[in-house]
């Protein structure tokens, strides 16, 4: 059964997953092309000075990329389910309704982990190539909430899409937008260090929010 669910989710998401992963990698490539350009034309020590003491965030091109990826995967995974109320077919499968949702959610988490891990690792490797350990560490601390925002966007978009009543969707969207802003507060590189684990816990807490929308659907709110 898990194989079949993974198969269905894979058919829905495979091309978008490829495109969105490519977008992530291109964003990283773009960041380090700019870094290379700055180092070549401004001299490395001057650029390092800007990064270390003038809060020049070379990685800011990555800011909304995980958010877009999380949002995109959730949309391509869940919109086909609510189109023509196909979610009824999914709930009719001989498997507990919450279990089937958790399998779909699990698939989404795994592909996001894969995509984010790839982008994160490439970003780290390039950062280590151009910068010293202290700068790289601060950068990784700063980009972590953006990747967490990608997961949060995925969970919240799933909840919004599966909600059947537009009035509630708008309400969920506004609440979600306000929540997502927590992940994008301005600050110097590394400023998020004490907050990252709290944001991770918050992200984990909202991970099951789609089951609430699905429960409402099953009770006739459609």
């Amino acid at each position: 059964m898990i194989k079949s669910i993974v198969y269905k989710e894979w058919i829905k998401t495979r091309w978008f997953l490829l495109i969105l992963t490519a977008v992530g990698l291109l964003a990283v490539g773009n960041i380090f092309l700019k870094v290379q350009h700055a180092i070549t034309f401004n001299e490395a020590h001057k650029y390092w000075y800007l990064v270390l003491f003038q809060n020049q965030q070379y990685f800011k091109g990555l800011k909304f990329v995980p958010l877009v990826i999380g949002l995109g995967i959730a949309l391509v995974q869940y919109i086909p389910e609510i189109t023509a109320k196909r979610i009824k077919l999914t709930f009719h499968l001989p498997i507990n309704e919450n279990r089937v949702l958790l399998m779909m959610l699990g698939y989404g988490i795994v592909v996001l982990l894969f995509c984010f891990a790839l982008v994160f690792i490439i970003f780290t490797l390039f950062s280590q190539h151009f910068f010293g350990e202290e700068i790289v560490h601060a950068a990784l601390v700063s980009v972590t909430p953006w990747f967490l925002a990608g997961f949060a966007a995925y969970f919240l978009t799933a909840m919004i899409v599966l909600e059947a009543i537009w009035k509630y969707r708008v309400f969920y969207f506004l609440a979600s937008a306000a929540f997502i802003l927590f992940f994008f507060e301005k600050g110097i590189a590394g400023a998020y260090a004490p907050l990252n684990w709290k944001l991770a816990v918050l992200t984990l807490l909202i991970s099951l929010s789609l089951t609430f929308s699905a429960y409402r659907f099953r009770k006739g709110e459609m």
Binding site: Y7, P80, L89, P94, F217, R218
Partner: protein, 295 residues
């Protein structure tokens, strides 16, 4: 004979609007029941309750003894479900969707599916979303048959189908159901389709059940009489034996479960002069309209 579906004292409202109150019906094992009703009479509400997608305000429906609000995976595996409009995972092609469903059902039998697919003129990698409504209906039906369910719930199965596909769908379904002793609960807007398919009929109107009986008994028991009279007969509608009465100029159509003699006696005793009295043969659609009225 066991009941596969038992609905007891169903009451449901949308807001303050009553859909029905204390609705009771059963579906016998091995029978084909057709649920008929006008738009808004509660057909889709009933289907949604049967599938556990709607919690009734009061009462309950049981399928194989389990409350439909909490069907176990095993019971769900015994139910084939056709959604209104033959909705399926349209982003798949016919191979992908067969592979997907086969992972869920231990008794999966792909032969009837591929038999139906061989009749469709579709390319192997064609997405279901690009197929015609008729072709999609065959995909949906084939998947249900491959599942080998004991109970089939078909919501408006003839929607969007041309006459050829409707006939193909019905004939295939009835032959299959009778050969394999399957139980079917079906709704359709096209009432004459039901006549070829069903054993039992359940006719619903706003807030109530108008008829629930074997189709043969209903079709022989429910009658239409036509006669001419110049007398004002509006009061006749209130008589207990009159199910429905339509009058256009002097032509009267009277629908009743009573016999020809009974109706004639009544008219004579009440001084209603009439002529050209006749029993009009009816199909299921005529009977349905006679029972529910034209408006």
């Amino acid at each position: 004979m066991n009941n596969v579906i038992e609905c007891k004292n169903l009451t449901h409202y949308y807001g303050n609007k009553l859909v029905y109150e204390n609705l009771n019906f059963n579906v016998r094992e091995g029978s084909i029941l057709g649920l008929l009703g006008k738009n808004g009479a509660g057909k889709t509400t009933t289907i949604n309750i049967l599938h556990g997608f709607l919690q009734p305000r009061e009462g309950e429906c049981l399928i194989y003894g389990e409350n439909t609000q909490n069907l176990s995976p095993h019971t769900k595996s015994r139910i084939g479900f056709l959604i209104e409009g033959h909705v399926q995972y349209a982003f798949m092609d016919i191979h992908q969707i067969e592979k997907f469903y086969s992972g869920f059902y231990p008794n999966w039998n792909k032969e009837p599916y591929w038999e139906l697919m061989s009749k469709l003129k579709v390319s192997p990698n064609q997405k279901i979303s690009t197929m015609s409504c008729g072709q999609r209906s065959q995909v949906a039906l084939g998947l249900i048959l491959a599942q080998e369910p004991d109970l089939l719930i078909l919501d408006d199965f003839s929607m969007g189908l041309d006459p050829g596909y409707r006939r193909l769908f019905i004939d295939y379904l009835r032959t299959y159901a009778k050969a394999e002793n399957k139980t079917i609960f079906a709704t359709s807007h096209i009432v004459q389709d039901m006549e070829r398919l069903i054993d039992d009929v359940l006719v619903m109107d706003y807030n109530r059940v108008l008829a629930h009986s074997p189709i043969d008994k209903f079709m022989t028991g429910f009658k239409q009489f036509r006669f001419k009279t110049k007398i004002e007969i509006a009061g006749l509608k209130n008589e207990a034996f009159v199910v429905n009465l339509e009058k256009a100029k002097n032509e009267v159509e009277l629908y009743t479960y009573e016999s020809e003699d009974f109706v004639k006696d009544f008219l004579n005793k009440n001084g209603i002069q009439f002529e050209n009295f006749s029993l009009v043969p009816m199909g299921l659609e005529d009977a349905f309209i006679g029972l529910t009225g034209k408006y």
